[in-house]
C-alpha cells in the first residue's frame, strides 16, 4: 500500500429533499429552509400525533437518464444515477478510457427497502410464484451503486457499505485506502437512501422518531457524493480541486446495535484522532458539520465534545435538523463541506462528524486544497 499522500475532492453532487442539485440545497440551507414536512393522513392512516419525514417527492431522472429507462429502476438507484452522473461532470472527469480507473463506494441504510416490501407483498398477497423477477435484483442494497456503475461504465472497485448513520463516511474511509493502493485514480464516495412508509411506520411505533411532543430524528432520503482523486493524477489532468481529504478517524463505542448513546469524551477522542490524522490543530478548522439529528442526549454529547475540542466560538452547521437522518445526510454534509471550502478557502478546514446508532462514529477533515 502506498503512503497516503494527497487525495483531492474534485467534484460533488447531491439529490436531496432540499433540491435536485447541491447548489440548490446550499442556497435553501442558507435561506433557513427545512425539508422536513408532516406526513399526510392519507399515508399510513391516522396517528396519535403528526409524523414527519424529509422526502424528495416527485423526481425525474431527466436529463441525466431518459424517463422511460428510469422506470425500470428503483427509486434509490434513480437518485444514484443522477447524483453520480452530475458529480463526474462537476469534476470534469471523463469516463471514456478511464473505466477501470474509476470506482464507486456508497453507504446506505435503506436502499432496496421499497422493492423488498413490494416483493414481500407479492409473495404474501398473491403467491410465491407470482413475485416479479424484475423486482428482486433491486432488493439488494448494492443495487444503486451497481446500477450507476452499469450506466456509467464504472469498472474499478464497486462497494456498498452499511454501518448505521456514518455509512457514507465509511465509504470515504475505505475509498481513500483504495486510492492510496492505486486501485483507481478516482472514486465516487457517498451514500444513498430511500424513504419507505413501512419502515416509517415501524420506527414511529418504536418511538424513536420526532413527534410534535417528543424529540427524535426524522427519516430522510437522497444521494450525495463527492469524487476522491489521487492528487498527482488530478493535478496532471488540470482538475480544479474543491478540497483536500486531510484526515479521518473511525471508532466504535460499546453500546447495543439499536442504541443511540455517546459520551462526550469518546466523541472528542475520535474528533481529535481525525485532526491528528490530518496534522491540523483545532484552530485551523473553520466549519463543523455536526451530527445533531434531534436525539437530545446524543446531540448534547456532541456539543460538549465540540466545545472541548474547539472551544465555544465555532461555526457549526446542524443540517440534519432540516434534512433528516440517514447515511445520505452524512454524505450531503461531506458535499456541503467540500463546497464550502471551494467557496470560502479562508475557512481553512472543515470537519464532518457523524454519530450513529450502535456506537458508530466517523469524523472526516477536509481542508482547502
Amino acid at each position: 500500500m502506498r503512503e497516503i499522500r494527497e487525495i483531492l475532492v474534485t467534484g460533488a453532487a447531491s439529490v436531496s429533499p432540499l433540491g435536485r442539485d447541491l447548489e440548490t440545497a446550499a442556497a435553501r440551507l442558507a435561506a433557513g429552509d427545512s425539508a422536513i414536512a408532516e406526513i399526510p393522513v392519507s399515508e399510513g392512516g391516522e396517528r396519535k400525533g403528526a409524523a414527519f419525514a424529509a422526502r424528495i417527492g416527485a423526481f425525474t431522472t431527466e436529463p441525466e437518464m431518459p424517463r422511460a429507462k428510469a422506470r425500470r429502476l428503483d427509486r434509490a438507484s434513480q437518485f444514484a444515477v443522477v447524483a453520480v452522473t452530475r458529480c463526474l461532470a462537476e469534476a470534469g472527469w471523463t469516463m471514456a478510457g478511464n473505466e477501470e480507473e474509476t470506482g464507486i463506494l456508497l453507504g446506505t441504510g435503506s436502499a432496496g427497502a421499497s422493492p423488498l416490501v413490494d416483493f414481500e407483498r407479492q409473495m404474501s398477497v398473491e403467491s410465491p410464484d407470482s413475485a416479479s423477477p424484475f423486482l428482486f435484483p433491486y432488493t439488494v442494497a448494492n443495487a444503486p451503486a451497481s446500477i450507476a456503475a452499469i450506466e456509467l461504465r464504472i469498472k474499478g472497485p464497486n462497494v456498498t457499505i452499511t454501518q448505521k448513520d456514518p455509512a457514507g463516511l465509511n465509504a470515504l474511509f475505505y475509498g481513500r485506502l483504495l486510492v492510496a493502493d492505486a486501485r483507481a485514480k478516482a472514486i465516487v464516495v457517498g451514500a444513498v437512501d430511500e424513504w419507505n412508509l413501512t419502515y416509517q411506520l415501524a420506527y414511529e411505533r418504536l418511538g424513536v422518531l420526532r413527534t410534535p411532543t417528543k424529540p427524535g430524528y426524522v427519516l430522510s432520503e437522497g444521494c450525495s457524493v463527492i469524487l476522491l482523486e489521487d492528487g498527482a493524477s488530478a493535478r496532471a489532468r488540470g482538475a480544479h480541486p474543491w478540497a483536500r481529504l486531510a484526515g479521518a478517524a473511525s471508532a466504535g463505542f460499546q453500546v447495543s446495535p439499536q442504541q443511540r448513546r455517546a459520551r462526550p469524551e469518546d466523541v472528542a477522542t475520535t474528533i481529535r484522532a481525525a485532526l491528528a490524522d490530518a496534522g491540523l490543530e483545532p484552530s485551523r478548522v473553520g466549519l463543523v458539520h455536526s451530527s445533531a439529528n434531534g436525539v437530545p442526549w446524543v446531540d448534547a454529547a456532541e456539543d460538549a465534545a465540540l466545545a472541548d475540542v474547539f472551544g465555544p466560538a465555532l461555526r457549526v452547521e446542524r443540517v440534519k435538523l432540516r434534512v433528516g437522518e440517514n447515511p445520505c445526510s452524512g454524505a450531503l454534509q461531506l458535499a456541503l463541506a467540500a463546497r464550502a471550502l471551494r467557496e470560502e478557502p479562508g475557512l481553512g478546514a472543515a470537519l464532518v462528524n457523524v454519530l450513529g446508532a450502535g456506537g458508530n462514529q466517523i469524523a472526516v477533515v477536509l481542508a482547502a486544497p
Binding site: M1, E3, I4, G44, E99, E100, G103, G109, E120, R121, M123, S124, V125, S127, P128, D129, A131, P133, F136, P137, Y138, T139, V140, A141, N142, A143, S146, A149, I150, L152, R153, I154, K155, G156, P157, N158, V159, T160, I161, T162, K164, N170, Y174, L177, L178, D181, R183, T198, Y199, A202, Y203, R205, L206, S250, A251, G252, Q254, S256, P257, G358
Partner: protein
C-alpha cells in the same frame, strides 16, 4: 504509513455441515451435503423446496437477555466469532480494544423476523404488527453485536455487495491492517436464510429443484445456504511476537466492477478474469504461483462456464494444471457469507493439503472442462490459493491466501 503484512491467526465456522470449524471442515472433506428440505418456512408454494439450512442453532455464549434480542444471523456470527477468537489465542484483556476492528459481509441479517412484521402489517394493519421485529433488519447488526460483546472499539464496517460481500470484507480488513489503522480485525461474514431470498432466486428461475450440481452438464441452478465464517486477521509482526499460530497469510485481493448486468455474469469471462488478474497483481503473484482456486461455482447455467473462461483467461496454461472446486455443492450458496465460509475452507485446504470436492457431479460439461475435483476430496500441495466471489450487480472480488 507502513506496508504491513496480514496473517490469519483464528478461524471459526457455523454451517449446514456443523456448528464449528472441525465439523464443517470434516463435512467438506467427506463430501457430505448440507442440503435438505426447507424447515424455516412453508416452502410448498415454491418451485424449489431445498436449502442448506443450519439445523440446530448453536449457543453463542451470551446472556439469556441478549439472546432473546438476537437474529439468527447474529447467533451464528457470534458463535463463529467466539470460536475464531479462541482459536487466535488473543488475550483480549491485554489488547488495546481501539486497535481491533470488525469488518463483516452481511445482507439478510434479521430479514426472517422482518418478514413476519411485513406479513402482519398486510394482514392485521399497523396495530397488529410488532415493530421490534424489524430492529434486527439492518445488515450491520451482527458487526455491531460482535463489537459490543467483546468491547472492540476500532473501526467497523459491513459490506453489502450481495454474493461478494464477505470476500470484500476480507479485503477491507486487510487494508485496515496494512495501512496501520488497526492491528487486529475480526472479519468474514454471516448470512442466513429468508423467504425473500429463496423467493427471489426462484422468481429468477435460478434455483435447482434438486441439490445444486456445480460444473455438471445437467446443472439447473443454485441451492441457497446459510453460514458464518469468521477469520481473525492480524499484522504479521505482532502475531509472531506473541507466538500466535499462523494458519495462513492473506496475500491480497482484486476488486472490480463488471458494469455489465444486474443479474447476469459477463459471458466472455473477461470481466471476472480482470478481477483475478487484479488479485494476482496486488498479491505479488504470477499465474504459475496459483495451486488451487476455490471457485464461485454457483451451479447456475450462466455462471459456471463464464467462470471457467475467467480462470483460463487469468491463469492461462496453469488453469489446466491445477484443481478448482465448489464448496457450494455441499454448503449451498451462502450469499453474503459465501466468501467468508469459502475463505475458511480455503485456509484449511492450504493447511491440510486436502482439496474438498465438488459433489453431485455426474456428467462433465465441455464448457466447464477444468479439473473440478469431482465427488471425492484429493490431496495436493497447495502453497497459494485463490477464492472467487462474483455478485449481483457485477461486484467481483477475488482473494488470495498463501501458506504461513
Amino acid at each position: 504509513m507502513h506496508d504491513r503484512t496480514v496473517v490469519v491467526t483464528g478461524l471459526g465456522a457455523v454451517s449446514s455441515l456443523g456448528n464449528d470449524l472441525a465439523s464443517t471442515w470434516a463435512g467438506l472433506v467427506a463430501g457430505r451435503s448440507g442440503i435438505g428440505p426447507i424447515t424455516l418456512f412453508d416452502a410448498s408454494g415454491f418451485r424449489t423446496k431445498l436449502a442448506a439450512e443450519i439445523r440446530a442453532m448453536p449457543d453463542p455464549g451470551v446472556s439469556p437477555r441478549m439472546l432473546r434480542r438476537l437474529s439468527r444471523t447474529d447467533v451464528i456470527g457470534l458463535t463463529a466469532a467466539r470460536e475464531a477468537l479462541a482459536d487466535s489465542g488473543l488475550d483480549l484483556l491485554r489488547e488495546d480494544p481501539t486497535r481491533i476492528a470488525v469488518v463483516l459481509g452481511g445482507g439478510v441479517s434479521g430479514l426472517l423476523d422482518s418478514e413476519g412484521y411485513f406479513r402482519d402489517l398486510l394482514e392485521k394493519g399497523p396495530r397488529g404488527a410488532r415493530p421490534t421485529r424489524v430492529l434486527n433488519h439492518p445488515p450491520d447488526q451482527t458487526t455491531d453485536r460482535i463489537a459490543e460483546v467483546w468491547g472492540f472499539l476500532g473501526p467497523r464496517a459491513t459490506i453489502t455487495t450481495a454474493c461478494s460481500s464477505s470476500s470484500t470484507s476480507l479485503g477491507y480488513a486487510s487494508d485496515l491492517i496494512r495501512s496501520g489503522v488497526a492491528d487486529v480485525v475480526v472479519t468474514g461474514g454471516a448470512d442466513t436464510f429468508a423467504r425473500l431470498t429463496h423467493g427471489g432466486f426462484n422468481a429468477l428461475r435460478a434455483c435447482d429443484s434438486e441439490p445444486c450440481r456445480p460444473f455438471d452438464r445437467g446443472r439447473k441452478g443454485l441451492t441457497i445456504g446459510e453460514a458464518s465464517g469468521i477469520l481473525v486477521f492480524e499484522e504479521e509482526g505482532r502475531a509472531r511476537r506473541r507466538g500466535a499460530t499462523i494458519r495462513a497469510r492473506f496475500l491480497g485481493y482484486g476488486i472490480t466492477s463488471d458494469a455489465h448486468h444486474m443479474t447476469q455474469p459477463e459471458p466472455s469471462g473477461e470481466a471476472c478474469a480482470r478481477t483475478m488478474r487484479s488479485c494476482l497483481k496486488h498479491s505479488g503473484l504470477n499465474p504459475g504461483d496459483v495451486d488451487y482456486v476455490n471457485a464461485h461455482g454457483t451451479a447456475t447455467v450462466q455462471n459456471d462456464p463464464a467462470e471457467t473462461l475467467s480462470i483460463k483467461l487469468a491463469l492461462g496454461e496453469r488453469a489446466r494444471e491445477i484443481c478448482i472446486s465448489s464448496n457450494k455443492s455441499m454448503l449451498g450458496h451462502c450469499l453474503c457469507s459465501a466468501g467468508a465460509i469459502e475463505a475458511v475452507a480455503t485456509v484449511r485446504t492450504i493447511e491440510t493439503g486436502i482439496v474438498p470436492p465438488t459433489i453431485s457431479y455426474v456428467e462433465p460439461d465441455p464448457d466447464c472442462d477444468l479439473d473440478v475435483v469431482p465427488n471425492v476430496a484429493r490431496e495436493a500441495d497447495i502453497r497459494v490459493a485463490l477464492s472467487n466471489s462474483f455478485a449481483f450487480g457485477g461486484n467481483s472480488t477475488v482473494v488470495a491466501f498463501g501458506r504461513a
